[in-house]
Symmetry: C2
Subunit: 760 residues, 2 copies
């Protein structure tokens, strides 16, 4: 069985030996380097740009400003194109702007022989600004008299939906209603590899962009749109990439390098962002305010959950309103028997543009949901786990938002497994009798997440398989490996269905939009779910061709045959090998009359979306006087359907848990509320947890089998990050009796709350 | 109509603007450069190699000798793998040798930071040789006491076949028998771009070879064989290449660069040959001796043609015995109603290795055939053209070698068209009455050629088409563009069958064996003939999918629809456009439920081989005292079936005619018969004709339609080179009465013959 085993990852040898070549490891003769000139103010108009001094520096090839770029507004969000104009992303970007909207905005770009010269010249460009009032907070940006950050004003979109019944009715049924407001900060992705891309024009005047991107095919389209070129005249190539976490689900550098090479006659031009640029001048996680209200009956049944989100998307829309809307479509799958009401407003602000980040709004929203429900449970006097078990989704439930029945729902089992693993009941007894400065607490929080974006967006994936001469198979997929292990998982699936060993699958890891099957890319925890049917069907087609070729060779009916372990066998005599696939492959290629190169390709659309589930249990200790939190034990339990590669799945969960702990306790981009200046746009001052900060991470799986995937799997990429925040918050409350409704729960924040509560 | 029009070539803008990137225009960070250490003697054993001085030069990374390379003999010829061990090429090469077999053989290789250092270090490697006796000529090599150049001796293979009846019987029917012996020299390809290749190991420890090769898929296999690696772990990429003429239908540098990168931990290593190395240390055209005997009846019917070829393949077998055998299979298609006997012997010699060159042995063989038949005609007192018309293939003939009926045969029409164009009858009258030093003559010679290699080798080609979002189509083909225009011709075919404009086809010109459809490559004038069915069927499949998608969109039956000019129409109402393909494509990609990326792929084997035909007519003037020849008019007339791209076809003919004139009058690699040293292995001393040497070249086509190709086309790549030699030889004879049975017919050669004939 190839699926379900922890095979050696396809990319692991190159990565652990340091051999992997990332975008910046490639170069081309004559390559030029470009550097942005960035705004030192958060809001203003460019009055003049003097490039004289920059152009005088030896090695400087060109300087371009807003006057040189196409006057074409384009959207950067990594969504597949939508046939519905109302569903298309907000086109609010130019390649360079004369209206700067955040501290770091791009007003000019210098191209030089080397990066050092480009950087020196960028500093020599003299820009004169007219400053405008700055709106950093939601309050400021949404004020009546706020300055317009974009011509249409600062509000991007407000939406409301109500499902599972009428809120009005549910409110009447509720015996207890709790409401609170929760806030989450701007978070940075901090992927290892900075943004880097280069472009050149090929022999046919097509523009080739090589980029560290999660979304090569979308990138192709957006570059085409930004430069008003036919999309197929853009070719995007994605080598291995050093992480993205959603920050490379936006088209950031690619339109610019494409523009530059076109302006410069096709010579290769590279942009590699410095770490500091990458932190603030790409995308961030939206800071949000979530007002959460929940109503329950006295017997502990949730009657309604009513959420109101304010989302500050910053200087440019990017993924904008999709973020709260996507999160809003997920909490209702977790508690599908209550009425769900969801409202969200997204607006501009003079802060760095927020985009996609792992779990796409859900960590923010579930911080509100799982905190307010904790309060409900506690007010009812119910055990937090029992309360969640009582209300969580179960297999018979209808997914309210789509009307589909849930097929595989392991939520209750996850809660039970987590409770057991953390020793909930025993510790609860012990922790109930605490006093003094050091106190321990238990916390739990659940989540649900989608597998892909359907029905919000089209879900399409492609796979092409080629039988090689030695009986191995080359696999081309549109799904992009971004470090998460998708190449490996999809290779396992192909091997499983085809009937060959895992090692017999060679993955063409690099996507090249000229030749790779179409797939929008790595986001929305979609790939193993959405690509699975494409892989499954392509492998089935190739297997059929292989057996048909055996029939051509021997006359034996293909229907009576099978392929297993790379050998042709008779179905009714599986023990005797008829032919090795190697020999069949040679015949198919080189027999003079019969056969051919055996290939199979499938492009498939997925019209289902299987929710995955899970929860975090945490046992922690609070030093009240020091305002510090020490996590004693933390465990994530996931229902991600069938686990394709247990070790990678565990790694995925560990990574998410680490980021979740970082978000809960450490991370926050600080922006001056008056000037919009960034305080800590660097990795010294922006604190991400390191190995000394992160506790041992435990994870467990409840393996269900979702029938909407041929391999039973559901999403696992993003979900591990969602529930740490509320679980830790609930545990601190459990330990101290103090509710913290904001993250990160740093010592500074704890001090404020503990002091307010009279603990110190 | 896309086919039959001279559309703008796909590669022309890049080529005329100098933008085209060839292999040497690419580089990689950290790339090293390698340089061979070559033998200064033609035959001997390496006694010792001292690399101390070379290794001491700063910047030298490594020196490898025969002791370091795998002890795996491999064959280099660019033939598809054969399932029949007896049909596989002779494996007689090591990557480096301690038994040098020609002046220039490879004994060691130096790797350094740059090419200059590598070259310096190569000179610093001290090699001690034990010299062995040298065999340059066929006589020397085939002598009983000749030293063995390879362990098995100097003879590679001897073959005889007799078809169309028994020679014995035909000899009895012949009233006149003529026999003569003809010799042709070693010729060099002189393609513009020298051999260049580099290799590196990718993230999965596969070896990536980027090379100026005509045969990427074959190259992959041979590199795998040479290094004892699974073939799919080799990836070969072919950028645009600057010509090959068969010299890049051999695997020359690729196994070495692959070996070097593997030895050096995967760092990129490049070898670029200097012009002088490329001339003698790659491959040459075989010098041959052809003894030709023909018998005719008194009424001018050829009863038999009996040919005996001695072919000196040089130091290594390379294409070896395939060369005379391939030519031997072609002359019988030209005169299919006579008995054909053919014998050939191929042997080693201490001269540069001969391999494939344009028309693959046919210029040599037809020099014999068309010269001896000229003598027959003259002895019979028949007009040379009439005699050929009488005996040439006609549509009803059976191709003797395969037993197939010939479908399209325009040979007679070619002769008639050429006779008319050159004013044969009028000039013949005038030239009959010549005297004095300056004399004019007329010559004619015919040829036939194959379209591909079937049934000698497997003929397989592949095509994958992808409908882009804007209704254009990306086309991936295994057939390789090597300057001959195959991308353009195949794009025309795809456009024609699909029903879109030629400009709507984007050709992925670069072959990449990981993702390109399988096709052995550019040789044997096979590509437009063998790839045509793959393109035709793939385009038909894609069109069907497009119409089916329209049915999905509208419910209209696909069978009632058609695609033409990129628009969906109803078959019975072709004037009213239902939908633009652009809109259909967007729907297929982005509709949430229906469709997918529409792609179609076909790998097809061709089990036919349509002979093409043609002839050269020449009118020339000989200055007997000066021993010079001035071509007054020369015309090639071709039956290549349907002409896909008239302007490219004309260009192809012009190029071939120029090379043919060069072969007839100028070119010869001179080797010292005693020592085996090369006299003129450089472009100063090896004389290729330039624009001042080449007369105006005329060409004409007799367009037939061969039903074995969906587009009616047959071979045209190589044939234009075949018949200049004998036509010019026959014209000189016509002018002077002197038969020259050797080429090149330089002043030196003419002097010898004119003097012998008593003319001077």
């Amino acid at each position: 069985m190839a699926v379900g085993q922890s095979h050696i990852r396809k990319d692991v040898r190159a990565k652990v030996t340091g051999k992997t070549r990332y975008t910046d490891d490639f170069s081309m003769p004559g390559m030029l380097h470009a550097k942005y000139v960035r705004s030192p103010i958060a809001h203003g108009l460019v009055k003049s740009i003097d490039t004289t001094a920059a152009l005088a520096i030896p090695g400087v090839e060109a300087v371009f400003t807003h006057e040189d770029v196409p006057k074409i507004l384009f959207a950067t969000a990594g969504h597949p194109f939508s046939l519905d104009p109302d569903h298309q992303d907000v086109a609010d970007r130019l390649l360079l702007t004369d209206h700067v909207r955040y501290h770091g905005d791009e007003v000019a770009i210098v191209v030089a022989r080397d990066l050092l010269t480009a950087a020196q010249a960028a500093k020599a460009v003299i820009v004169e600004y007219e400053e405008l009032p700055v709106c950093v907070t939601s309050e400021a940006a949404m004020a009546e008299d706020a300055p317009a950050i974009h011509p249409g004003g600062n509000s991007i979109k407000s939406t409301t939906f109500e499902i599972g019944g009428k809120l009005e009715d549910a409110e009447k049924e509720a015996d207890l209603v709790v409401e609170d407001t929760f806030s989450t900060p701007i978070i940075l992705h901090c992927h290892l590899e900075n943004h880097v891309a280069y472009a050149y024009m090929d022999d046919n005047d097509h523009i080739v962009v090589v980029s560290s991107t999660q979304i090569p095919h979308i990138c192709r389209r957006i570059v085409g749109q930004a430069l008003d070129m036919p999309w197929p005249k853009i070719r995007v190539i994605k080598p291995y990439i050093g992480g993205g976490f959603g920050n490379k689900q936006d088209v950031v550098l690619e339109p610019m390098v494409a523009f530059l090479t076109r302006k410069l006659g096709g010579v290769p031009v590279k942009i590699e962002l410095e770490r500091e640029e990458g932190l603030v001048a790409t995308r961030t996680r939206h800071g949000q305010t979530v007002t959460a209200r929940a109503g329950v009956s006295n017997d502990g049944i949730i009657k309604f959950i009513d959420l109101n989100v304010i989302s500050n998307t910053g200087a440019y829309a990017s993924h904008g309103h999709s973020i709260p809307m996507a999160a809003g479509s997920k909490f209702c799958n977790l508690y599908p028997r209550s009425v769900s009401k969801f409202s969200a407003t997204t607006h501009y602000g003079n802060i760095p543009a927020a985009g996609a980040m792992r779990a796409y709004g859900s960590p923010q929203l579930f911080f509100g949901v799982e905190s307010v429900l904790e309060e409900v449970a506690r007010k009812l006097g119910m055990d937090s786990v029992d309360f969640r078990i009582k209300n969580s989704a179960r297999p018979a439930d209808i997914i309210s938002k789509t009307g589909n029945k849930e097929h595989s729902v392991g939520m209750v089992e996850c809660l039970e497994k987590g409770r057991e693993a953390i020793g909930w009941d025993v510790k609860k007894e012990v922790y109930a009798r605490q006093e003094g400065n050091i106190r321990r607490g238990l916390g739990v929080a659940s989540f649900s997440y989608g597998s892909g974006t359907y029905p919000a967006c089209v879900e399409i994936a492609g796979c092409r398989l080629v039988l090689n001469q030695d009986g191995t198979v080359h696999m081309q997929i549109g799904a992009t490996e971004i470090g998460q292990g998708s190449d490996t998982a999809l290779a396992q699936m192909a091997a499983e269905t085809l009937g060959v060993d895992y090692d017999a699958i060679h993955v063409v890891s690099e996507q090249d939009t000229d030749v790779s099957p179409f797939d929008p890319g790595a986001y929305a925890s979609r790939q193993t779910y959405v690509a699975a049917p494409a892989v499954h069907r392509a492998a089935g087609k190739l297997k059929a061709q292989i057996l048909e070729h055996y029939q051509l060779m021997t006359g034996e009916e293909a229907e009576t045959l099978d392929l297993t372990g790379g050998k042709i066998i008779r179905r009714d005599q599986p023990e005797s090998v008829l032919l090795d696939l190697h020999d069949l492959a040679l015949d198919s290629y080189y027999h003079k009359e019969r056969g051919g190169q055996l290939t199979a390709e499938v492009s498939s659309k997925t019209c289902t979306n299987a929710p995955s589930y899970g929860c975090t249990f945490v046992d922690l200790e609070v030093d009240i006087e020091m305002c510090t939190v020490t996590i004693r034990q933390i465990i994530n339990v996931h229902d991600a359907g069938k686990i394709i590669h247990p070790l990678s799945a565990e790694g995925q969960v560990h990574g998410g848990m680490g980021m979740g702990v970082g978000m809960a306790l450490f991370e926050e981009l600080l922006v001056d509320p008056e000037s919009g200046r960034i305080y800590n746009g660097n990795l010294l001052d922006y604190k991400i947890p390191t190995c000394v900060d992160i506790p041992d991470l435990q994870c467990a799986f409840v393996e269900t089998f979702d029938p909407t995937s041929p391999y039973g799997n559901k999403s696992l990429g993003e979900p591990p990050i969602i529930s740490q925040g509320p679980a830790i918050r609930n545990a601190i409350w459990d330990a101290t009796g103090v509710k913290i409704n904001e993250i990160p729960m740093t010592p500074k924040v704890l001090f404020k709350h503990f002091k307010n509560a009279g603990l110190i």
